[in-house]
Symmetry: C2
Subunit: 379 residues, 2 copies
């Protein structure tokens, strides 16, 4: 194997596949990245067994300055190799494999010789039939992820809750996450009818990495799903993730369909108030703040209290307020996460009673996005 390539374009590719490479893997060869050189392209692969990423650098794109002199494949230590490439002196570099997987990296007058591994020992990526793939606009997918991932559980006691549950039918994409204290649900209409149905749970960690790989363009990403794997095709890059096994709990009945008290807020001013109150609640053992809603004088007051440190009290002016008087306590961090994931400016907060979950929804198009928070009993 011998090829020359643009340093900057090569680094872009290395950064993409490095997202999947962990130094903590129990499979030593997975600390490496695989490079395959063919006459037309370079294929880079990284994997941590849960996530695998493959990206192609094509010789036909003149920016890549890719010239493959002889084909071949190698696995190189990912972190160390990437550090070397980033430090090389010239705008291009040449990589050549000599005997015993020794790999010579040359750029200008600098010459590195590092020990590689036999690419035949690198695990095979899953084979996924992409004939039934579903196109999703990149910006929409990115938004769905950011809106639901906040509610994913990070407790391994119920592994299925560490993922986001996707259900896709002819018309809608429905994504739900819950850690059993709060829930986030997003519904998006398909651009065009999709003739298959999908029902799967993707690990939160995979979605978080996937999200970083998507720019804000509306370019379509192609999704294919098998029994235990999902494949996202993003331009020249393939992103594979294993699915979580097991049945996701039925969340469809958790969201109340009526309310006794509804308060509308500017999301940003409610967030600022809750952030201030949480400064105090974070200092106490119980991370709880209290909201008192008084329809008589159209007032909402937020309290935080930490006996050792002090108290905070703030009135926040609602846009509107209807229904019954209510005093409710909750974890301010759940409220902060929910408010930050909302890109809308005005929201409705709907309450049933002090001990029943309450919802946050955008004032406009509220059906499509619901955040649910379970209150905390303080008496």
């Amino acid at each position: 194997m011998k090829f020359t390539i643009s340093k900057s374009e090569f680094i872009k590719g290395l950064n993409i596949v490095s997202r999947a490479i962990s130094t903590k893997t129990t499979i030593p060869i997975l600390t490496g990245l695989k490079i395959i050189a063919t006459n037309q392209s370079l294929i880079l692969t990284g994997s941590d067994a849960d996530i695998s990423i493959e990206t192609t650098i094509k010789a036909s794109n003149p920016d890549n300055l890719l010239a493959v002199e002889s084909e071949g494949a190698i696995v190189l230590p990912a972190r160390f190799f990437t550090e070397i490439v980033k430090k090389l002196p010239e705008d291009t570099l040449t990589i050549e494999i000599t005997d015993n997987f020794q790999t010579v990296i040359t750029s200008g007058s600098a010459s590195f010789t590092i020990n590689g591994l036999d690419a035949n020992n690198y695990p095979h990526l899953p084979e996924i039939d992409s004939s039934n793939s579903l196109p999703i606009a990149g910006d929409v997918l990115k938004q769905i992820i950011s809106e639901t991932i906040v509610a994913v559980s990070n407790q391994e006691s119920r592994p299925i809750l560490t993922g986001v549950h996707f259900t896709m039918d002819n018309e809608n994409i429905l994504a739900v996450a819950t850690d059993s204290h709060r829930l986030s649900q997003r519904k998006v209409a398909m651009k065009q009818p999709f003739e298959h149905t999908y029902d799967f749970v993707l690990p939160g960690k995979s979605l978080s990495e996937l999200s970083k790989m998507i720019d804000d363009s509306k370019d379509d990403i192609l999704l294919s799903v098998t029994e235990n794997q999902a494949l996202f095709v993003i331009g020249e890059t393939l992103f594979y993730s294993r699915l979580l096994e097991g049945n996701y709990p039925d969340t469809s009945r958790l969201i109340p369909d009526s309310f006794d008290t509804r308060v509308s807020f500017e999301a940003s001013s409610l967030l600022a108030t809750v952030e201030r109150a949480s400064l105090l609640s974070h200092e106490s053992r119980n991370n709880v703040i209290k909201m008192i809603i008084n329809p008589e004088d159209n007032s909402v007051t937020i309290y935080g209290n930490s006996p050792d440190v002090g108290v905070v009290q703030e009135n926040i002016e609602p846009i509107s307020l209807e229904g019954n008087q209510l005093e409710i306590s909750f974890n301010p961090d759940y409220m902060k996460d929910a408010l930050r994931s909302l890109s809308q400016t005005a929201i409705n907060v709907d309450f049933t009673s002090a001990l029943r979950p309450f919802t946050l929804m955008p004032t406009e198009d509220g059906e499509s996005f619901v955040q649910l928070i379970t209150p905390i009993r303080t008496f």
Copy 2:
């Protein structure tokens, strides 16, 4: 005590004194910051017993929007109080002490009540006579610090080496630091004759914090020194540091006054080459790289070798080369630190022999700044 102040100007003051405040202190009251309100000004103080910082916010400066309604003093939990102030909703805030050192912070509709401590229990700052103070331009002091601090020892086995040794006579400021493997020495001529002499060792940690407080202006900083304290006056801010006790070793004879081999380099290209070679040396147990200087063909080659991982070799073109053939090994990190602290573009590296310390000096004005590195015996 009751006063109103501009939030942004107050935050600037809090950030300044917070540099001295550590959460790890063994003296509980030092986790707090002291506020004294007088009719003319607010005085903020932070300290970790080694470093103390006091800054004054004057009512006479209209930007401060400072209005003191009643005088007084309080100690407030530094980190927590600063977090609260940063999150306040309006551009100004009011602070009022009520009974039992309870402190009420109000801004807009937000109201915090936090527990303060009696300011009478806060340690007194050292009293320093500043009539013999030495003016040093801020940018010069900042440069002296950055050039010498790299060679300060971080080993507590010889505490005196964890500081920088300053000697000031009528004409010069001399600053030296060494960790016994390398040494950095900077000499600066006084702008005007100074009639006293100073000889003291300032802790590296103090200098590092002091440096962050100095902007790049040429405004004078006033230095006063007592037996065990130094005071730097920077505008409205006083920076106190304890001095290290003990005798600093005599370093005046360590710097060789002749050389057998002299190589001139572009500092930036030597740095880039050493950085590349250190990628490999960092992977091996001995963090060593080798430089081979060959006057016959005017060549300099740098080698790094880590048996498990690979080898690196690079030719670097010197600006000039005179003297004898030499093969010398050293810790690349010392070389990197030395080269990064040099703001000059061209440097001379002067060698005596493979086992004797060698020096890096700016090609121009070499006398004023010397970095010395001890080589490593590899045979």
